[in-house]
């Protein structure tokens, strides 16, 4: 049956049809839906792991045991999982193992826009890159065959536009592969120096064979058209090239982007007058062409930064760009904001009021850096807040310890905050760490995590108790506050910053968007009492604005959290 399917869902369908049995992933936009959709199939065991390294190792274990496995992550997730990736390239697999990494050129939801192809090259594993949903489904299935045939993990690279676009697919049945029972093989699977040194040449030979395979494999194809212009491209750039040039140019579409073919590219280049590589982010195919001694254009005209669009390609390569009208004046932006009633808001208000130096982390709470709260001064990668505050305080000493805090979400703490906390406990800085426990992984669309007590299917699961965990690490001062209670937040922040030993503050209240959270009726403004002092505006709640000099509350947005009322000295904001 033909149906419209999201790229990520199609990939999940491919896993299902290929007989994949174990999926372990960590959420990250734009990769998350692959695993969420896979979890809808009862035949596949699916889980959210605490981080990408764990996920990849779980998938490796399942592959070793003889079950086709998968793990999914965003581009920066592969940095975290790089350690097992590089070495399971050496061990190879038993049953097929597929890794999906989703890049985010244009940084719609990311802290950088690195190009994941570098990881495939460095780890010497094949990488496939679909250009629509049908290919996502197909490539997922074929990736398992490739993985088993060449004894290697296979990476499927998605990008925002392929992951989050729906296009037409045709689904098939689930076909279980031949069983591959686990066999003890110390020389292959125990990567100590004596064994690993024998595996390395095997991997080089595998790359040679894969390059040969790339010359004629079904993932790469030539679409001959006009021969004045020849384009080598892949993924969403292929779609843009077709959109702009149609049949007027010839295209070499690469579905396998590592390793790259040699003969195929040379032959294609020989058939066209001018050769251009259209690829987002880094010039990887382009540099490969140059190494082959070909004259090629690419990043001399197209940008390295940001994502591509059809008009940009048309303009840079001399094709026609459509005309359009314009409003002719700058319009106010609409940046994302913390939701009305977000539990993070009260805590950030407190930090802002106390003029704390806030070293931050990644999640919904990163929006605490935005005006009017502006209460975050550093965000690097997941977990970095807890490690960096230790370095910050070691560098600056006592004065810094009295005003600096690290803030980190519950999911991010489980991902990679715990190790930083262990360092504070072990190497003794008087640091104050605030865990923003909203009982969910909010930013990526509400996934469960080890602190929530539920698994990916929403069924009851193991639950890690944050207080006990911190105490077990040696923290004597562990306090829990309700971020809707501004006085309690203020007291906790002041006391813990002043304390003579390191402490953890757990700011605990579930995310306002969770289905089980019951909201109070909206607040309203008594306009006789409101003097228009704008004290409440310092919260940055999207439900409050000033109209004709007085505060007004948008009843459709307000969830009745009551935080604004605690800021009003005139009792104008009422339940």
């Amino acid at each position: 049956m033909k149906e419209l399917m999201l790229g990520n869902k199609a990939l999940a369908r491919g896993l299902y049809e290929a007989g994949c049995g174990v999926v372990s992933s960590y959420p990250g936009t734009p990769s998350t839906e692959v695993t969420e959709e896979a979890a809808r199939y009862d035949e596949i065991y699916c889980e959210w792991a605490p981080n990408e390294k764990v996920a990849l190792e779980v998938a490796f274990g399942a592959s070793l045991a003889g079950t086709r496995s998968f793990c999914g992550m965003k581009h920066v997730g592969l940095n975290v999982a790089a350690d097992p990736l590089f070495t399971c390239s050496y061990t190879g697999v038993n049953a097929g193992m597929v890794i999906c990494v989703a890049d985010d050129a244009g940084m719609h939801s990311s802290q950088n826009e690195q190009d994941s192809r570098h990881h495939a090259i460095a780890a010497k594993v094949p990488m496939l890159e679909p250009s629509d949903s049908a290919e996502a489904l197909e490539f997922a299935k074929k990736a398992y065959e490739l993985s088993e045939r060449f004894d290697t993990p296979v990476i499927i690279k998605m990008c925002t536009r392929i992951a989050h676009s729906q296009s037409v697919v045709e689904t098939g049945e689930r076909v279980m592969p031949e069983p591959r029972p686990y066999e003890k093989n110390i020389a292959k699977y125990v990567m100590m120096p004596g064994n690993a040194i024998r595996r390395h040449p095997v991997i080089e030979e595998r790359t040679r064979k894969l390059t040969e395979y790339a010359e004629s494999c079904e993932f790469n194809r030539v679409e001959m058209g006009g021969t004045a212009l020849g384009i080598i491209t892949s993924s969403t750039s292929y779609q843009y090239a077709k959109e702009v040039f149609g049949e007027s140019a010839s295209i070499l579409k690469l579905g396998m982007v590592n390793p790259l073919p040699v003969k195929l590219i040379r032959e294609f280049a020989a058939k066209v007058e001018k050769l251009v590589v259209i690829e987002e982010l880094d010039p990887i195919i382009e540099n490969h062409c140059r190494q082959l001694g070909l004259t090629v254009s690419g990043k001399d005209v197209l940008p390295v930064c940001g994502e591509f669009f059809p008009n940009m390609i048309a303009e840079k390569l001399g094709a026609e760009v459509p005309a359009h009208g314009s409003i002719g004046e700058p319009l106010p932006g609409r940046p994302p904001v913390m939701c009305a009633g977000c539990p993070h808001r009260g805590l950030f208000y407190t930090l802002s009021k106390n003029k704390c130096t806030v070293l931050g982390d990644i999640g919904c709470y990163t929006l605490g850096a935005v005006a009017p709260l502006s209460a975050m001064e550093m965000t690097l990668c997941m977990g970095a807040s807890v490690s960096a505050i230790h370095g910050f305080n070691k560098a600056l000493g006592g004065e810094s310890e009295k005003k600096t805090v690290a803030v980190i979400g519950d999911s991010t703490f489980m991902h990679s905050g715990m190790t930083g906390l262990a360092n504070i406990a072990y190497n003794q800085s008087n640091s104050t760490v605030i865990i923003l426990d909203n009982s969910i992984t909010g930013m990526t669309g509400h996934q469960q995590n080890p602190t929530t007590g539920y698994n990916i299917k929403g069924d009851p699961a193991g639950k890690i108790d944050l207080e006990s965990l911190c105490r077990a690490m040696g923290f004597n001062r562990v306090v829990v506050v309700d971020p809707y209670d501004l006085a309690a937040c203020d007291r906790a922040v002041k006391e813990e910053l002043a304390a003579a030993e390191p402490s953890v503050i757990i700011s605990r209240r579930p995310c306002a968007l969770l289905k089980y959270v019951k909201h109070n009726p909206p607040y309203h403004v008594d306009s006789d009492k409101c003097i228009g002092c704008k004290s409440c505006m310092r919260l940055g709640c999207p439900a409050i604005s000033i109209k004709d000099g007085k505060a007004v509350i948008d009843a459709t947005q307000c969830v009745g959290c009551g935080v604004c009322a605690q800021l009003c000295r005139f009792d104008a904001l009422q339940a």
Binding site: T236, P322, S326, P332, M338, A371, P542
Partner: protein
């Protein structure tokens, strides 16, 4: 020829159902279809956009400037924000609701006046309508998306029964009546 529709609004306003309905309908009509949108950060109350493209064969998942035949907008400022994406002579179907973005709320910017007129001056054909009132009339403020679809349907050569059928197939049973009514009100507006 590929036709292009952009659905724009504020994160959380329900563009998902509108694009689902269009995708479903156009696929049953035998077109190649691509529907694409960005999930993630922007959904926290930010500006959001969905691209719907259909025709014999659709390549690019996104619509670029000067290419949209229609912009369907849940909010005035958002329609204006994307006006450069409209084809010369293209049409904007816009809900006249005003939702202040954070820079306006904090006083760092003002909500622009006369946006409808400005869009017309930019060469757009504009259907401006109070969809919220119509949606409430149909039974739920949440049906703004289907009111907009009703209005949009006037410009398509697809029988109204097909639209109604698509609604029946895309919304949960208990909301079908409400949405059919919202569609009708939008179409007749």
């Amino acid at each position: 020829m590929t036709k292009n529709i952009m659905i724009v609004g504020v994160g959380g306003q329900g563009s998902l159902l509108a694009s689902k309905l269009l995708g479903h309908l156009l696929l049953t009509e035998g077109y190649d279809v691509k529907v694409s949108e960005v999930h993630g950060m922007s959904q926290r109350g930010g500006s959001v956009v969905t691209y719907v493209r259909f025709g014999e064969k659709v390549y690019s998942p996104v619509i670029d400037k000067g290419q949209a035949d229609f912009i369907v907008s849940f909010e005035k400022l958002e329609a204006a924000r994307y006006i450069e994406y409209l084809k010369v002579g293209g049409r904007v179907v816009v809900n006249t609701q005003q939702i202040d973005p954070m820079p306006v709320i904090t006083g760092a910017a003002v909500y622009p006046e006369n946006l409808i007129e400005k869009m017309e001056a930019a060469g757009a054909l504009v259907d401006a309508m109070d969809c919220l009132t119509l949606a409430e009339q149909a039974g739920s403020a949440k049906a703004v998306n289907i009111v907009l679809m009703g209005r949009l349907s006037r410009y398509f050569d697809i029988p109204v029964e097909k639209w109604q059928q698509a609604i029946r197939e895309c919304v949960p049973l208990k909301f079908v009546e409400l949405n059919l009514k919202a569609f009708e009100l939008g179409r007749a507006s």
